[in-house]
Each structure stands twice: as C-alpha cells, then as structure tokens.
C-alpha cells in the first residue's frame, strides 16, 4: 500500500472569522476549523478522515477541492501547490480532482438530465465532440451499472443508490487521480451502502484512483480505507494504517470513538471508555491536548501540547501517554 505520493498536506489550517457586535463588523474570534493538519495520500490509496460532527473533516475536503482557501499551510497534488495555480493549472486540477458529496438528493441539479450531469466535468474542461461526450457518458454509466438510455432521465427518477452512482460516474468521467468522497454512503440505506462501497473498491482496483474518504461510519471506513486519520477539534490525533488502528487504537479519543461502534451482539460490547460531556467549542479550544477536557486519562501534563509519536507502519499519535522516545507498540501507559 505504499505507492508514490499523490497528495501531500502540510500544516494545513483554516480559521473562520466570527463577527459580533451590533454592526456585525467586530471580530469576535476565530473558529479553528482545521488547525495544523498534515497527511499524505499515496497513488491508488484510500485515506479516511474520521471524527465526530464539527471536527473539521468537511472543511478539509472543501480545502482539498479548492472551495475554500487555507489560512496557512499547503496542499500539494503531484508536486504542485493546489492553491497557487494559474488558469491552466486550475483546469489541470479540475480534471485531476473530483468529488462525490454526501446527499445524493441534493447534489444533482434537479433540472438537468442525468447525461448532462455526468458529462459536465468533461464538457467544461475538454473540447470534445458531442458524439465523443455521449460515448464517454455511456461508458461511465456502464461502469457504475446504469443503462445508457437512462441518460435522458432526470435525477428524481432514480433511487438514492442510483443517484450516488450517477454522482460517481460524473466524478470519474475525467479520469481523475483523486476523488474526494464526502460521506458517500451515509445518506443511503444500509443494503445500498455495501453496493456503492463495492463499486468504489472495484473502481480503485481497476483505475488506481486515490480516494479521500470523509466519514463518521467506522464500519464502512474499515471496509475500504488503507489509511485512517482520526480528527478531533480540527486536529489529527492519530493516524495509522486501517489494520493497525482498528486492531490497536492508541489515542484515548480513537478508543472512545471505536468503542462507540455498536457490536453485532450486545454481549460483545466493551466496557466503556466513553468520552464524557460535550465537544468544547472550536472557537476557544482547550490549551495543550484538546481532548483533555473529556479524556479519562487526563493529567496535569496534558495542559502542554502533546508530542507527535511515530507509530510502526508510518502512522503517528499525538498523546502524552505515548512519549516520543518510547515508540512503544504496546497499550497505553496507565497512570
């Protein structure tokens, strides 16, 4: 799973200004939606960003898609800074990176025919004859298991799973290197989720496409991700290969998150390391380790920024339980 690097994200931050005061012009503070995040995605790999609502994973996907500009840091795609592209560079980028959004009911223009929706990335980025476009659309529809004649229909004539496959066909039509999947299956029925995820896996195997998967559904993440990054309040607290992180979750937050998955049988439920309380506001995050207000292992030392300790297999964890020198692969040091 260690191909060449496709995407390199370094020290990425996005702060949103919050205004206040009677005129709404005074700066009341900054929401640190994403704060100093770094990761890489290899060619043909899937990196999953997981975490609870509001942890910044969707902001990262919007940064990755150039829908937002970063406050600091950079995203590099195939060696080029994606937020410093000239016009030709932007066109190149649009062909290389596409996206599938969460809600297939909202992400397809209700007034456009499915064929036009699928063709759109191709039509706006490349000069092709209508016939060529139609052939590519038919190819794509075949790839995702739709019939070419259905290109004439409108989105409302399809089911949720079909609509998500339409979105996928559209995202893949320019043969992108990276597809950002923002909660691609969470709006679908469970039976349809498996179908779409199998499709994603097949496509990755056939075409070597990389995926950035944004999800809070840990079961589906395990099924298709190679690397998993766990986010909390705008930071990545732990990052490792999927096998490693599911077998040996290290950060207390990761463990709390994984313990919250409902097991197949109620007797299998592990006694909780449930995180207490609410998530603190990203407007004013706790100093030091941001999880310390809810962490069952929190001590005084957690008021300082935790070290980022490398893990075997290329991951890392940011927690005082794992001092930088030790490099331990065992469980946490109980205090």
């Amino acid at each position: 799973m260690s191909g060449s690097t496709l995407v390199e994200v370094e020290d990425l931050s996005k702060h949103f200004r919050v205004t206040g005061g009677p005129l709404g012009v005074r700066t009341a503070g900054h929401v640190r939606a994403v704060d100093g995040v770094s990761f890489r995605i290899g060619a043909g790999e899937t990196l999953a960003l997981v975490g609870e609502s509001g942890c910044g994973k969707t902001t990262i996907s919007r940064l990755m898609l150039r829908l937002e500009t970063p406050t600091t840091g950079a995203i590099t795609l195939a060696g080029r800074d994606v937020h410093r592209l000239d016009r030709a560079g932007v066109r190149w980028f649009r062909r290389k990176v596409q996206a599938v959004f969460q809600d297939p009911w909202a992400s397809l223009s209700p007034r456009m025919r499915v064929g036009d929706i699928i063709a759109e990335p191709l039509v706006v980025n490349e000069r092709l004859s209508r016939t060529r476009v139609r052939l590519r659309v038919a190819d794509m529809m075949g790839l995702v298991g739709l019939q070419p004649w259905q290109a004439r229909l409108f989105p409302h004539e399809f089911s949720g799973g079909q609509r998500q496959r339409i979105a996928l066909a559209s995202a893949l039509i320019t043969e992108p290197d990276l597809v950002v999947l923002d909660e691609p299956v969470s709006a679908l029925d469970v039976s349809v989720q498996a179908q779409v995820m199998n499709l994603l896996k097949d496509i990755q195997r056939e075409r070597g496409t990389s995926f950035l998967l944004i999800s809070h559904d840990l079961a589906s993440v395990r099924y298709i991700a190679h690397q998993v990054a766990v986010m909390y309040l705008g930071e990545i607290v732990e990052q490792a290969t999927a096998d490693e992180i599911y077998e040996r979750p290290r950060h207390p937050y990761t463990r709390a998150l994984f313990d919250a998955i409902l097991p197949a049988h109620p007797d299998d439920r592990r006694p909780g390391s449930d995180a207490a309380d609410e998530v603190p506001s990203p407007l004013n995050p706790p100093s030091g380790c941001r999880f310390r207000t809810r962490c069952p292992h929190a001590t005084d030392v957690c008021g300082h920024a935790p070290p980022r300790t490398a893990l075997p297999g290329g991951g890392s964890v940011a927690c005082h339980l794992y001092p930088a020198t030790a490099g331990s692969t065992k469980g946490p040091v109980r205090q």
Binding site: S109, M112, L143, L153, R165, S170
Partner: protein, 299 residues
Amino acid sequence: MTTALSLPQVRRGGRRGPRMLWQRRRLPWLPLAIIAFVLVLPALLAPLITVHDPLRGVLGDRLLPPVWQDGGTWTYPLGTDKQGRDVLTRLVYGARISLLVSTAAIVVGALVGTTLGLVAGYFGGFVDKVIGWLVDTFQSLPMVLFALVVVAAIGPSFVTIIAIISATIWAVFARLVRGETLSVRESAYVARARVAGASAPRILLRHVLPNVANSLVVMATLQVGVVILEEASLSFIGAGIPRPQPSWGIMVADGREQLLSSWWLSFFPGVAILVVVLSLNLVGDWLRDYLDPKLRQQV
C-alpha cells in the same frame, strides 16, 4: 473502462414522473377563460372580430347607449363615445395595447431584474450591496410622480411607458431572484459544478436559473395584473399611451366627463380591467401553489 461491473440493472417501467398539469389540481377554469376571452383572444384577433375603426368614429352616432337600453342598436353593442367610436371595438383594441405593454414591460423588467438578482445573489459582497441600494431606491420611488417627470421630459409614447413600467417592476424580480440564488448557491449541486470546473456564467445559467425559473414564472404572472393596472393608471392621468390609442385607462379617463349621462363609457373598460387583473392574480396564486408552495410567504 468499458467493463461493466455487476450491479443490479435498472428495469424500465414504474418510472415516477410528474403527472400532467391538469391531473394534479383542478385548474382555475373561470379566470383562465376570462383571460382568454377578454384579454388574449381579442388582442390577437382584434381586426377579425370587429367591424368598426377604433380611432375614427361616426359623428352622427355619438354617445349611443348599449344595445339593451333605449336607443341602443346592435351595430354598437356596448354603445359609442362622444366621438361616435364603438366602445366594444375600442375595448378589443385596448386589450391589444394592454397585452403588448404588459408583455414588453415584464420581459424587459424580468430580464434586467433576473440578471442583476443572479449576479447579486451569486457573487455577493460589494456588487450585492450596490444592486441592493438600486433595488431599494427604485422601490421607494413614487411611481406616478416618476412617470409624470419622465413623460414631461421625453414625451408620451409606447416606448416611454414600457420603459417607465419596466423601471418600476425590475426591482421586484431582482429581489426575488437574489433571494432564491442565495439559497441555491449553497446547494450541493452548485458545489459539485464548481468542483467540476464550471465557470460562474455556466453555473448561473445551467444550475441556478433553471431552479429559480418556477418562482420567476409565478412572479411574472402576478406582475401582469400589476402592470395592466399601472398602464391604466398612467394612461388615466395622461402620462401613458398617447391619445387617440384606445387604452383601457384612457377610456376610463375620457368617460369620466359623461359619467352621469353615459355610464357605459367608463363602466366597460373599468370592468375589463377589474376582471382581467383579478383573473391574472387568481391564476398567479394557483400557479404559485402548484409549482412551489413555499413561495407563499415571499410574494
């Protein structure tokens, strides 16, 4: 690339589609019929359904009453005015003017308003502010005063009155479209189009405009009534259609002097304005409910 993955194929049939217009909800037949027979058909077929000249009368037949009153004749079913012109003929040609003026004014107003509304809503910021000021300014202009000044300056004509009415209604369209654009702009399909690399004009034309079209149609229908009323008012005060063109507003105004002796001069054009505007509003309401119930509060 061409390998089809084995997924369940979609069967034809059982497709959900919108049913036909008349199957959904009962059409407002009476208002539609009134619009057709009082406004649209007379306007289109005026020379075919009348035998008199709308501009030149027969002076010997001045101020004849309608056919059912003493002295009325079938030659002039609704009577004649003080220049001996047939009231029915002038009503029919007046429909033509009402339809022409309202269509032209609404097309111009909707075009200008929609363009500015799309731009303001989509780009926001300074552009939005400037357009917002313009909208507020135009909406706070007293229409009659504005019209009098313009007509005094450049003289009454068809183009003048269409320009004046467009100037007073574009702001309504701009405001509506701006609001709708604001919400559509945040939608996932616009985000998807941006990721696909679509330019702003393409997004506005292919993604935003089709999705605000419903509201536009409703608004345009409701505005037809408003515009007919405006044209009649302007014509009534003499700042509208130049005489001797037979505008409904002019007919009401001219009949005023003989109101006590010859009631039919003002009565029939007045009734025409009333029933047409009422019908247009009813059809507009129906269309709004049919296309988009959530618009109810906004219009």
